[in-house]
């Protein structure tokens, strides 16, 4: 067997998966007994790094690809993720589009969601200011600032 493998290597013939594995394991395990004997038998007793590199390349080429076992749990998560992404994407695509004007410097808000309490208050403030501008009413400034909010009593 070893001799067969050795001969194959010498002739530059393709190794099958089992042979490749055997050779690779021998090299990785430091089984120099076989390797050394093979090398001694070579015409050129000083194998170059180039030779070893070529050997490794050939081993990689012919090495069988390990088939991964199907992971139902992991795959399930992936499928769920892909499904969620697809649905989200479909939902976003189905939403009415708004043409966005180029916005220099200004960045869109971090969160786009429902109305906030603070937002509602700002709207009320806006309406109050708008009423002053266009409705003929005004909120004058106090001439003297009170020391206490007497209206709260």
């Amino acid at each position: 067997m070893d001799k067969e493998l050795f001969t194959k290597i010498q002739k530059g013939e393709a190794l099958d998966a089992r042979e490749s594995l055997m050779l690779e394991q021998s090299l990785e395990a430091g089984d120099h007994s076989h390797v050394a004997s093979w090398i001694e038998a070579l015409d050129d007793p000083q194998p170059s790094l180039h030779w070893r590199s070529n050997l490794n390349s050939r081993l990689r080429e012919i090495a069988p690809v390990e088939k991964k076992r199907f992971n139902w749990f992991g795959s399930g998560l992936a499928i769920a993720g892909i499904t969620a992404f697809s649905l989200t994407f479909a939902f976003i695509m189905a939403m009415p589009k708004e043409t966005k004007a180029p916005v220099a410097q200004a960045q869109p808000p971090a969160i786009v969601a429902g109305p906030s309490d603070f937002g509602s208050t700002l709207v009320k403030v806006h309406l109050s200011d708008e009423a002053e501008v266009s409705g003929g009413i005004r909120s004058p400034r106090r001439t003297v600032e009170p020391a206490f909010d007497w209206d709260s009593l």
Partner: protein
């Protein structure tokens, strides 16, 4: 449609509003009115104003026991000048001309604006016709108008939930034959503080940069105000384009991650500008607010 007493059957709400606009420049009167403004928490602020009017010129004084005593407001065409007697200082802000204050067609409206007659009532001992301004089915304003002289004796403005945000009602009124023009002039040597001066001053006191809208947008700064809202320092500016009003509000302090774009009758567009949280609000579409957000400048003295 309900017609109030004294309304000619041929009168329509639109024709009465046109009459109000036309007569505004001819009216001369003195009156005392109660003004009510609701603050953001919904608490009403009520105070009396003493109003003297000669056409488009208006002078407002406050009773001696008023928290606003010691200041005189003079309005003419597009400016409101508030004179602080003790400081000899005039604060200038802009207003819409009287005729435009009764133009209900401007801005983005949800559905057509309709004017409808409703039951009037007696205001300042004068019979009135009431006109409701509706956008869709939502009441935006109500006006109580003395039809013969076309004077608005009571006015209420409503928010998007139909709650009143501000208004006035005359308690007493007298129509005058003449009013001296000199009543509408203010001391020439007073220091004048323009809206942009006010903005810079307020921004400094609130430790903010005086960001504002570039005038090339067509929006003009009407006034700037500072204050606190829900624990945050707020610098607010209101702008007018002649067709719509937009607020630019700068917020400092507090967590407002929940503040978001909102679409409706009034739109909100919050955005970051060089680390500052700015919010544009107005009855214009979101695209307009986005475009305005790209036109922020620092107000120069």
């Amino acid at each position: 449609m309900v017609f109030g007493f004294g309304t000619a059957q041929s009168e329509t709400p639109e024709s009465l509003i046109e009459k109000v606009k036309k007569m505004a420049s001819k009216q001369q009167l003195a009156g005392v009115r109660t003004v009510t403004i609701w603050d953001p928490s919904g608490k009403p602020k009520t105070f009396d104003e003493r109003v003297l009017r000669k056409g488009n010129n208006l002078r407002i004084e406050y009773p001696d026991d008023s928290p606003f005593a010691g200041q005189i407001v003079v309005e003419s065409e597009e400016k409101r000048l508030t004179y602080f007697i003790a400081k000899n200082e005039i604060r200038e802000s802009r207003i819409r001309p009287i005729e435009d204050q009764f133009d209900f067609g401007g801005g983005r409206r949800q559905g057509a604006v309709r004017l409808v007659f409703a039951s009037g009532e007696e205001i300042a001992n004068l019979r009135t016709n009431r006109i409701d301004v509706l956008a869709g089915n939502q009441k935006r304003q109500s006006l109580w108008i003395e039809p013969r002289r076309a004077v608005v004796l009571k006015r209420e403005l409503y928010d998007n939930e139909g709650k009143a945000v501000g208004g006035y009602e005359y308690k007493r009124i007298a129509f005058l034959k003449s009013v001296e023009a000199s009543k509408f002039s203010l001391p020439k040597d007073a220091t004048v503080i323009r809206p942009k001066d006010d903005l810079i001053r307020l921004a400094k006191s609130l430790e903010m940069k005086p960001y504002t809208l570039d005038p090339v947008t067509g929006y003009q700064l009407m006034h700037a105000r500072g204050g606190d809202i829900k624990g945050s320092k707020v610098l607010r500016q209101i702008f007018d384009s002649g067709k719509s009003q937009v607020s630019l509000i700068q917020v400092r302090g507090g967590e407002h991650r929940e503040l978001s774009e909102r679409s409706g009758r009034i739109n909100i567009y919050p955005f970051n500008h060089n680390g500052a949280l700015l919010v544009l609000i107005g009855e214009v579409d979101l695209d307009t607010l986005r475009r305005l957000a790209s036109r922020i400048i620092v107000q120069q003295p």
